[in-house]
Structures are given as C-alpha cells and as structure tokens.
C-alpha cells in the first residue's frame, strides 16, 4: 500500500495507478498514462469491448441485435441505453444465443444460424447485427461465415460485430462498432453528395436529444441524411454515403467511422459537441462555416441568438445561486468532459476533478487545456479513488453515470446523471437549462442539511 503525495494530490493508490492521475499546473504540458488495459483488482469503472460495441450500434431501431454468447451479456445490456426511436423499437429487445455448456464444447455456429433464422422470421428486421462475446471468441465460432450464409438466404444485411470482451478495452469496442457500421454504410456506397447535406454521428438520442439537434440543423437549412446511431434505421445508415459532411460528436466512439468514410468516399468531418451553450453554438457556427452559404450562416446566427436570449433570464438565476460551487466530472468519453468543464464555467462553477474511462493522450491534452490550474485529471478511475478525490477536493456535485451515483450520495455529494439514465435532454440549448436546473436542484436539496458531511465544498480551497 502506498500513501503518496503526488504533485500535491494526497491519495492512497495502487502504485501502477499513479501515472493515471495528474494535476493541472499553471504551465508545462503534463502527461498522463491512459488508453491502457485496466489494472487487475483495481475495480475499474469501465466495461468491455462488447459493451462499447453494443452501446454504439444498439440504437439502430429496426435492426435485430443478436448477442452470440452466454446469457449475462444479454441480460445486462437489455434496453441499457434508453435511446429513443420515433418508429420501430426492435432495438429495445435483447436477443441472445444463450450459449450453454454443450455449445461451448461442440461449438455454437449451428445454434447461431438457427437463432438468426428464427428471429429474422419472427421479427422481419431490416438488418441484423451479431455481436461476438468472450466465449464466441474463445470457442472460435466463425461468426462471419454464419452471417454471410444467413444474409444470402434471407436477403438482408447480416453484419458481424467483432467485439470479443477480452480483446482490449471499451475503445476497441467502439472500433468494432464502427467497422460494423461502415460495413452497412458501404453497402449503400458513395453516390454524388447531396448539396447542403450532412450526417449526425455520435448522438444516441437519449431523452430525445438527437431530435433537438437535428431540428437545429434543419432550421439552418441543412438536410440530415443519416443520424448514426440515435433513432436510425438500417436503410438510413446505408444512405450515409450521400452526405457532404460528417458532423461527429462523441469522437471517441465515432471518429473511426468518420475516418473510414473520409478515406473511402472523401467525406470530410467536423468534430462537434452539443453539451453546453458555447460548444453548442460553436458547433452550429462551424458547420455553417463549412458550407460557406450566406443564407445558412444568417439563419444560424439568428437561431443561436434566439435560443440564447430565450434561456438567459432563467440561466442567470441559476448562475447567481451556483457561483463558486465545485464539481467533479467522471464520464465515459473525454469529449464530454471537456464540454462539461466549459459548461460549468458558464455557470460560474469550477471543476476540481475531471476524468474519463476511455480518453486518449490527445483527449487529455484537450482536458488539460480547458481545465483550471489545480484541477485533478484522472484516467480509468475506480470508486476508492473517486471517493478520496470527492472528499479531498471539497466537491459539491458529481457528474457521472449510475455506477458513481451511490458513491457520491454516501459521501453527501449531490449528483447529476450525464449518462444512459438521463430522462431529460442535457444537450442543446434547452438541455443546458435542464442541466443547470438539475445541478441546482440536487445541490440545493434540503436533504443535505441532515447529512453530516454534505456541503464540505463551501469550506474548501476551491470554493470562491
């Protein structure tokens, strides 16, 4: 056991974890260990390759999503994402080959074939994705061959997703998902780009966020060809090659797809974020600039001004109440962490701890650039580290996912869910107001008055 004071962060850490935590200082580049396998025994908050692939592709609503593996992989990912669909909801069912001992011994290819065939007959999907899990990988089933056979027999795209759980971390799952999605895109191929058209990549339509963002782009005068993967359809994804531009949020998960489409079809991409007012407005402006069309630019300016004006009075009230409060952010993707730092700053709040499950070195450079000096930056954290950081940095509110929620609550720290479980949009202009309201309502709940450790942030060095 080591008790170290590394760069002024007093933490008890497993020695191998030290490089994964760093302090943003006033100057200098700083380095953080990241994009590595999780440490055995460290209780990482990360899931696996399969999970990464499953959450990225799952929102394709009219596809059959069949998990080739034992039951747990299917149980724990059933309707996990809360992605909304405006039409079919086949994606909300969880299909599995439910591999048993005899399948493990004799192979699961025949079961996979029969499962695919019967499910296609029962549900008449427009396409199918077959996810490989640890077991499928270890017993060596030829999923590709089974998919090809079923595709030929049924005349619909049947796409293997090479997402064996142990083959890397969640990032590898994103990559596997992008390969599968590109497989689908490439069936449509490249056609002449439609002028003033784009694809929305990397929004998963939690709480209807995609609909909001899509409407912004349409109000600007742009045609959205495909949204991948929130509220998407098989045929829509196959048309993605018609778009003039890929607009990519959640770059960790979707950049691979954007790059593949750029290489294959020459479709350029822009990285965007819809979290926080500055990032939302900046993203729309950059998309408008890309098209260089005077009318679109004018409409975009008008849209942004209108939205901002409508929000400002209520937002100002929250800003007054929240000024000086301290937040900790621990999310899956680093892109969101950067946006959240800026979103909190726009509420006159400070982010004292920021981290991600899957950030890469360049992502952490961006986090470092956005963060205030004195911010602790952490990669692939675990509950003990998060608990220590919440306590030692005087955090008022924690922004994360459902796994972090009970840790924050036990420590008397307010919480905002910025992951699958959210029920109100947190993206877009209106989403920022929801976000401010949620942060405010949790911090100012009367329950903390009864909790001994709550509100320690007010006395911390970070409180202003």
């Amino acid at each position: 056991m080591t008790d170290r004071d590394r760069e002024g962060i007093a933490l008890e850490l497993i020695p191998e974890r030290e490089g994964h935590i760093s302090l943003k200082t006033g100057s200098g580049p700083g380095r953080i260990a990241c994009d590595a396998e999780s440490l055995a025994g460290a209780v990482s908050q990360r899931a696996c390759v399969f999970c990464g692939a499953r959450v990225v592709i799952n929102p394709v609503a009219d596809a059959l999503h069949l998990i080739h593996g034992p039951i747990g992989c299917s149980t724990y990912t059933w309707d996990i994402r809360g992605s909304l669909s405006s039409g079919p909801e086949l994606h909300r069912l969880s299909f599995s080959t439910d591999l048993r001992e005899k399948d493990v011994i004799f192979g699961g290819e025949d079961k996979l074939y029969r499962a695919l065939t019967e499910l296609i007959e029962a549900h008449r999907p427009r396409g199918a994705f077959v996810y490989a899990t640890c077991i499928a990988g270890v017993i060596g089933d030829d999923i590709k061959a089974v998919c090809a056979r079923v595709e030929k027999e049924n005349g619909l795209p049947v796409i293997p997703v090479q997402s064996e759980g142990f083959k890397g971390n969640k990032n590898a799952g994103y990559k596997a998902a992008c390969h599968a999605l590109f497989n689908l895109v490439s069936r449509g191929g490249r056609r002449d780009a439609r002028p003033l058209s784009m694809n929305i990549l990397g929004d998963f339509n939690l709480a209807g966020e995609l609909w909001m963002v899509r409407e912004y782009f349409e109000r600007m005068g742009l045609e959205v060809v495909a949204n991948i993967s929130g509220d998407s359809r098989v045929e829509q994804v196959m048309r993605a090659g018609e778009a003039a531009l890929n607009v990519v949020q959640c770059s960790g998960s979707m950049m691979h797809l954007a790059r593949m489409m750029e290489r294959a079809y020459g479709i350029p991409h822009l990285r965007v974020s819809y979290v926080g007012l500055d990032d939302m407005a900046g993203s729309l402006t950059r998309v408008a600039d890309f098209f260089g069309d005077g009318k679109i630019s004018a409409r975009t300016r008008e849209l942004i001004e209108g939205e901002l004006q409508a929000l400002e009075p209520e937002l100002a009230r929250y800003r007054r109440r929240l000024a000086g409060r301290v937040a900790a952010v621990y999310v899956g993707g680093a892109f969101k962490a950067v946006s959240l730092i800026r979103a909190f700053r726009s509420l006159d709040m400070q982010v004292a701890v920021v981290g991600s499950q899957t950030g890469k070195e360049s992502d952490y450079d961006e986090i470092r650039a956005a963060a205030d000096p004195g911010t602790v930056i952490v990669d692939d954290a675990n509950p003990l580290e998060l608990a220590q950081l919440m306590q030692s940095r005087g955090v008022d509110i924690f922004v994360g996912g459902v796994k972090e929620r009970p840790v924050a609550y036990k420590l008397g720290v307010a919480f905002c869910d910025h992951n699958h479980e959210r029920k109100r949009p947190l993206e877009g202009f209106a989403g920022m107001l929801n976000f401010a309201r949620e942060v405010h309502d949790s911090i100012f709940s009367p329950v903390w008055r009864f909790i001994p450790r709550a509100g320690s942030g007010q006395q911390s060095a970070h409180g202003r």
Partner: protein, 448 residues
C-alpha cells in the same frame, strides 16, 4: 431458449457469477473478484447497484487477449494482490466466469501458488467458486457460494445451541425481519449470508471501503456446531444445499423449507422454528398473524378470481405463487429463468387446490412469458421490473417484487417474508388492482 425458440428473447435470469457477488456481499469484511474480462464486473456492479442503490465494488482480474490465450494466472494473482492491498478484506471470494472456465484456468492451483509466494495473503480467507456463466443462473451462483463458504470454513465441535439460517436470496428488509423472528424465539441464529446492512446501509460518518455488516467469519466457522439448520431452498436441488452439506459433514440436523412468503409458507416456517425451539410462537408474531387474517378478509373481494402471471427466481417465485394462491389470486402463469424438478413439484403442491392448474414455465425468457400471459388473459403481472414492457403491452398493472427492481426505488426495503411480509404484499397487491380498476373506470370513485 424458450418455447419453440432456439434463441432467448429478453432474459429472465442473470448469470451465475452475479449470484456469487450477492452471496459474498453478505459476509462481513469480504470482497469478490471475478476472474474474467473487465466487463463482467462492471455490468454486475451496475445491475446490482441500480436495485440496491448502494456502492457495489466488485474487482476483476481484467483478462486481456494475451491471458485469454496463455491463461489468466498472472492476471488473477495481480488482481488478488491489488484488491487485498486496497480493500483489506478478511474474506475474498473468487468467482470464475465463462471465459476462465472455458480456457480452463485452475483457480485452486493458481491461488495455491500465490499463497506459497506471498505468505502474507494467507491472512485472507480466499474462497474460489466455480460459476460458469454458460450453465444455470444467478440463483445457482448464490447457492454455489454458500456451499463453498461452508465447505471451506465450517468447523465441527461440541453441539451448541446456535441455529443456522440459510435464507437464500431475499431482500435486506427480509433478512432484518428474520433476525427479529429468531430473536423473538430467543434463538441465537447465524444468517448466512446476511445482506441486511451491506446492501441497505445508512449514511455513516466515514466512508467505508467495505460496508459494515454481514455474517462474521467466526460465525460461519461455528455453523458446524449448531443445533440445527433451516434453509429456504425448497425449489433448489439438494446438491446446492449448504444445510445438507452441514448435515453430511457435521451431522447438523437440516430442515429445508420454502421461503416463508404468504401465510401458508409463513405458518410452516413459524411452526418449524417453534417446534425446534420448543416454544410457542411469540405473542408479537401471533398478533401479526391475526392482523394478516383480518386484512386478507378485508381484501378478498377485490382479489377473488383475478389472474396473475408471476415470474422470477425459482425459490422466490414459489413463495410468491403460494402467497397469491393464499389470497385468492390465481397464479395462472408461473415462470422462472431457472427451475428444476423441485421447483415444479413444490409448485404443484402449492397450487393443488386451484381449479385450473397453472401453466409453469421453466428456463424461460420474457418473450415466452409475454406470449403465455397474453394467451392466458392475466389481470396483472407480479415480479421484477423487467416485466414492465409486457405490462405496458398488455395494459395490465405490474406489482414489482423481487430482484431486480430498476425502475422504482425501495426494492431493497421491500418486506416479503413472514406475516408482516404477507401483509405488506397483500396491501401492495390489492391497491395495485384497485388503482387499475379506478383508472379503467375513468370517473374514479371515492369509497369502495
């Protein structure tokens, strides 16, 4: 795999290692490490935590591609060292997963090597459990772990007057109630495992890495000297019975009962305890039974003839079905993601007085439950929150009970067992049906 399908649609069971995580959570100062890939532990933490709303730390040996090919020994050893370093547990359960079972890692052997090289780790009781996810379900993993704990830790000795109670997987509120019952009879009972505090803790002054509570290690060791064992495992095969293992190993008399859900099964439990303790049922619980009878009479008109589909873990569903049959609701469809011979024969006994025998679905999934519920024309569903989409489709109410309940709060505080539990279930059931009827009428009503 259910009905005519080879595939599974919307699983009605969790995987075997998850049961191990739940069982070890009920042992004091214990941790679990899953020997497999990182995702398993994260998924199960999320799944368990979303029901109990407690931090649930489960370690993983985080196997990589290399270890999947060459074996996971080094990852397992590093994982054990790190988790002991960070959490300082006294007991460490090591549950295997489908991956490590398939690549054939010999956990006993690997741990033996580790203990040879790192003598300091011998302070920790390391308990391997084989929980291949491709066989059985979480209920098996739960029992596997109880059996492993007993076979590893129980010691014999002169017969004492202690009592072992193996409750199976019930709610923390249930475990608290069972303690009260045993206290009421003046019995000194060891409940194994005891999740009453560890999965339903309060806010305390300092954050604990391992939550307080659970069955103390010493108490597990003493189980071999108890006067008798009770086990709620009527729907579970004997080979998964910790009570029977204690009987074989140390001649501790064992009585296996259905989980005491509903008045019939509660009577069997109270009578068994009364007989063994040589004391009548304490006044306090006798009063509870009288009030329950009164409540059952008050409610019977709203319930008579209603038909339910009930689903969940085998032992829990057996209890729920008996409860429904007690109060006049026909358990028309009884379903479980598991369920062997014991489950079916106990259910047939419990439902013998019904006019029409129930449709019993074993090793089933929600796809099949939905078809059966629709065909049978049920008035409500009773079970975990995972049936919520069926309830929506059929436009019937869902009375949530069991594990998991992910779309409501309070699952960990639901009381199901004993007369008090039957009363709580009865009120919930009756009001669920009344609320449905009120909504359906449109104009509502002010008296009933």
């Amino acid at each position: 795999m259910a009905g005519n399908f080879v595939s599974t649609t919307n699983p009605c069971r969790m995987c075997r290692p998850l049961g191990a995580c739940l069982a070890f959570r009920g042992i004091e100062d214990s941790m679990v490490l899953l020997h497999g890939s990182q995702g398993c532990s994260t998924y199960m933490r999320r799944y368990i935590s979303s029901h109990f709303r407690e931090p649930v730390d489960i370690a993983s040996s985080s196997l990589s591609e290399k270890s999947a090919v060459y074996g996971g020994a080094e990852s397992l050893k590093r994982g054990v060292k790190n988790v002991v370093d960070r959490y300082s547990p006294r007991v460490l359960g090591i549950a295997t997963t489908c991956l490590t079972e398939t690549i054939g890692d010999d956990v006993e052997l690997i741990i033996g090597e580790l203990l040879r090289d790192e003598p300091a780790l011998r302070e920790v009781e390391i308990i391997p459990v084989s929980t291949p996810s491709y066989s059985g379900g979480h209920y098996n993993g739960f029992h596997d772990s109880c059996v492993a704990l007993i076979s590893r830790l129980a010691q014999g000795g002169p017969r004492g007057d202690g009592v072992n109670l193996f409750p199976g997987f019930l709610s923390p509120a249930d475990i608290r109630h069972l303690k009260d019952v045993m206290d009421g009879f003046g019995l000194s009972a060891v409940i194994i495992p005891d999740i009453s505090e560890t999965l339903d803790g309060g806010i305390v002054d300092s954050y604990r890495r391992i939550p307080a509570g659970g069955t103390p290690l010493e108490a597990v060791r003493r189980t071999g000297t108890a006067a008798f064992s009770l086990e709620f495992s009527a729907a579970t095969p004997g080979r998964q019975s910790a009570a029977l293992l204690l009987k074989e190993s140390f001649s501790v008399p064992a009585e296996r009962l259905p989980a005491p859900i509903g008045i019939s099964y509660s009577d069997r439990f109270f009578q068994a305890v009364s007989r063994r303790a040589g004391r009548p049922v304490p006044e306090h619980f006798a009063r509870q039974r009288e009030r329950l009878l009164d409540a059952m009479v008050d409610a019977h008109k709203y319930l008579s003839g209603k038909r339910a589909a009930v689903y969940g873990d085998p032992d829990f569903v057996l209890g729920l079905s008996s409860f429904l049959a007690d109060v006049g609701v026909v358990p028309a469809v009884i379903a479980s993601g598991g369920g062997g011979r014991e489950f079916i024969s106990e259910l047939e006994l419990a439902c013998a007085h019904l006019e029409d025998p129930p449709e019993i679905l074993t090793y089933t999934d929600f796809g099949e439950i939905a078809r059966a519920a629709a065909a049978s024309g049920v008035d409500l569903l009773v079970g975990t929150s995972k049936g919520n989409h069926i309830a929506r489709e059929l436009q019937v109410p869902l009375m949530r009970a069991g594990f998991p309940i992910h779309d409501r709060i309070g699952g960990q505080r639901m009381l199901h067992v004993g007369y008090a539990g039957a009363m709580a279930l009865l009120d919930l059931l009756t009001n669920t049906i009344i609320a449905g009827a009120q909504d359906e009428l449109g104009y509502g009503y002010s008296y009933m």
